[in-house]
Symmetry: C2
Subunit: 362 residues, 2 copies
C-alpha cells in the first residue's frame, strides 16, 4: 500500500498534522456531529462512553438503510486540547514540587520549509504547556559527526528529557545511525527497537509508546470504547503506526488481525472488526461495505484529493470513506481533526513522562 503523502505519524514531524488541521478547519466544521445512540457520560469533561456490546447491530443496519448519519464523531482536536491542559497542570506541579521543567530538544538539518514549520509548531506546542524547547538548526551540508555531537550533548544534558531529530535528514546522512544515537531514556518517539520489543512482550513495559498509535488508543480510552475481548483490525503494518498500534491493542486484550498490502481479502477481514485502526495512506479505501455495523473507527490516514472548490485545489481525506462510515459505524474519527492533533499531544505527554521518570516523580 502506498505511503501517505501528507501523513506525519512520527512525532519528529507532528506539526505537519497541526498545520493541515488548521488549514482544513472549514471542512470539519461543515460536518454534522451526531450523538451516539447509547451513551452514558463518564465524567462531565469527558466525551460519553461508547459500549460496543450493548449496541445491537440491527439499530445500525436500520440507520444505514435510512442513509442517515448515526456515528459519533470522535473529536481528536478537543481531546488533544484537554490533554494539553492536563499536561500543562502536571508541568506546573512538577516545577512547583521539585523545580524541574521538562525539556524537549529538536535538531533540524537543512532548509526545508515544511520541516522548519513543523519544528516551529512543536516549539509553540511546548511553550503552550510550559515545556522548555531546545532547538539546533544546522546547515544542509552539516556533517553526520556534527549532528551526532549535538545528540551526544543533549543525551548528557539533564535539562533535556526528550530528543527529536527532524526527518527527513539530508541524503548524505545515515538516518539509522543518527536515530540510534539518541539515548533510549530520551527517545520520546518510542521507535527504538528496545522500546518496540518491550511493547511486544507481556510483563515488560516500554519507556515510551510511539506517539500516533498512543494517540489512537488514547482516543478509544477517552471515548470509553471497550477494547478487551473485541476483534480489532489494524490496516497497515508500518513501524511507526500499524505495527505498534496492533501491539497496543493486543496489550489491552483485543484479538488483533493485521491487514496489509499482501492480504487477499482485506474487506472481509476488516468487516469482522469491532475496532478498526487504518494507517495506509489510501484515500477512502475503507468503504461502508468493509465496516461491521457498530464498529469504532480510528482513521490515521491523511490523504490529499483534488477539490476545485478549495482555495488550494485539494482537500484532505482519510483512509476511510467518512460519509459511508458515518452511516454504519458507532464512532469514527474525522480527517482532519481526529488522530492528527493527538500525535503532538502524545509527544508532549512522553516528554513530561520522561522528566518525571528522570526525577522519580510520581
Amino acid at each position: 500500500m502506498a505511503s501517505m503523502i501528507f501523513t506525519d505519524t512520527s512525532s519528529s514531524s507532528t506539526s505537519r498534522l497541526l498545520t493541515l488541521t488548521r488549514f482544513c478547519n472549514g471542512v470539519v466544521s461543515r460536518r454534522r456531529y451526531i450523538g451516539p445512540l447509547h451513551v452514558a457520560p463518564l465524567k462531565p469533561n469527558l466525551p460519553p462512553t461508547l459500549c460496543l456490546s450493548c449496541r445491537p447491530s440491527s439499530r445500525f443496519i436500520t440507520a444505514a438503510m435510512a442513509t442517515e448519519p448515526s456515528a459519533k464523531v470522535i473529536d481528536g482536536k478537543e481531546v488533544a486540547k484537554q490533554i494539553r491542559e492536563e499536561i500543562s497542570a502536571e508541568v506546573s506541579k512538577l516545577k512547583d514540587a521539585i523545580g524541574v521543567v521538562p525539556g524537549l530538544a529538536v535538531i533540524l538539518v537543512g532548509d526545508r520549509k515544511d520541516s522548519a514549520t513543523y519544528v516551529r509548531n512543536k516549539k509553540k506546542a511546548c511553550e503552550s504547556v510550559g515545556i522548555t524547547s531546545f532547538e539546533v538548526h544546522l546547515p544542509e551540508d552539516a556533517s553526520e559527526q556534527e549532528v551526532l555531537k549535538y545528540i551526544s550533548d543533549f543525551n548528557d544534558d539533564p535539562s533535556v528529557h526528550g530528543i527529536l531529530v527532524q526527518l527527513p535528514l539530508p541524503s548524505h546522512m545515515n538516518e539509522q545511525t543518527i536515530l540510534n544515537a539518541v539515548t533510549i531514556e530520551k527517545d520520546v518517539d518510542g521507535f527504538h527497537p528496545l522500546n518496540i520489543g518491550r511493547l511486544a512482550m507481556r510483563g515488560r513495559d516500554p519507556l515510551f509508546v510511539p506517539c500516533t498509535p498512543k494517540g489512537c488508543i488514547e482516543l478509544l480510552h477517552r471515548y470509553g470504547v471497550e477494547i478487551k475481548g473485541k476483534r480489532a483490525v489494524v490496516i497497515g503494518r508500518s513501524n511507526i503506526v500499524g505495527m505498534p498500534a496492533a501491539l497496543l491493542l493486543q496489550r489491552e486484550d483485543a484479538t488483533v488481525s493485521i491487514v496489509h498490502s499482501r492480504t487477499k481479502n482485506p474487506e472481509e477481514i476488516t468487516r469482522q472488526a469491532d475496532i478498526i485502526i487504518s494507517a495506509v495512506g489510501q484515500p477512502n479505501m475503507v468503504r461502508g461495505s468493509w465496516i461491521k455495523p457498530g464498529a469504532v473507527i480510528i482513521d490515521v490516514g491523511i490523504n490529499p484529493v483534488e477539490d476545485a472548490s478549495s482555495p488550494r485545489g485539494y482537500r484532505l481525506v482519510g483512509d476511510v470513506c467518512f460519509e459511508e462510515a458515518c452511516k454504519i459505524a458507532a464512532a469514527v474519527t474525522p480527517v482532519p481533526g481526529g488522530v492528527g492533533p493527538m500525535t503532538i499531544a502524545m509527544l508532549l505527554s512522553n516528554t513530561l513522562s520522561s522528566a518525571k521518570r528522570a526525577h522519580n516523580f510520581q
Copy 2:
C-alpha cells in the same frame, strides 16, 4: 489459557522435549504417515512441497466425509536430524577455514533432576554437531552475584558464542536481572527485548530468532508451505512462542491474527486460517471443527493426558486433536515428533550463526 505442563519452548530447557520425544517414540511409530494429495518433491532429501492454493478444499471435505486420514504428517524429527547434519557440516567448514569452533555455555543452578537432564541433553546435542559445550553447575544456595560473575566471564570469552541460563532458577534469584546480563550478541534464546523489537520492525533484523517459533517456520519452509498472502492464526501469545511466531509469519507476508484467552470466538477465527500455529497447552483444544479444509497445522503444545495403557500412566498430546486434524488439514505436526525436536536444532543453529557473525564468516 493454561500454560503447558510439559512444554519446553525456550532453548534454556529444550532437552525436555527431546526426552519426551524419546519416551513416546512408540506412539509416533504407530501412526499412519499418509502422503499429501498434491505434492511435488523439491529435492531428493527434502519432504515434498505442499501448495495450499492448488488444493481445492472440496477434496479435503470429501476426505473428511470419508473419515479417512488425508493430512501429510510433518516429520519434525526427520527435519531436525537433517538440520543437525547441515549444522555439523557448517561447523566443520568453519573450523577448517578459520580454526573457529562454535561454543555454547550453559549455567545450571541447583539440583533439579529434570534441569540436569536437559543440560546433559544439550551437551550431547552440541557434541553431535561439533559445537563445544561449556557447563557451570552451581549449588542451590549460590548467590545471584556468583551467577552474574559467570555470565560476565562467558560474555567476555571469545570461545563462547551462546549463553543459556537453565530455568527455573532458585527462588532467591531475580530471573530478569540474570537473563538481562547475557550480552545480546550471545543471547541465543533470542528473548532479549532488543531482539524482539528488531523482529517486529520492518527493515530490521534480530540477531537471534527464538528457537521454537523459528523451528515452526523452518518446518513450513522445509515442507514448501507457502506463507506469503496466507491467513495465519497463532493461538497463544506467549513471549517465547506465540508472539514471536506471529511476528515471524508477518515478516513473511502472512495476514496474521492472534487468538488468546480473551478471544470470544476462537473457533470461528481459527477456521479462517490457512496456517495454524498453536501454543497454549490445552490438550486437544483445537478440534476438527476449528480447522479449514486444507490448512497446515503446527502444534507446539505438549500436554500429558492420562493413559492407563502407557507404562507411565500418561501419554502426550498436542493442543490440536490429531486424529480429527488428520481428516481435514493438508498437513499437521505430530506430538511428539513435530515441533519438539526442532527447538534444540534451532538452538544449535543460533549458536553456529553467532560464531559465524563473531568472525564475520559467510
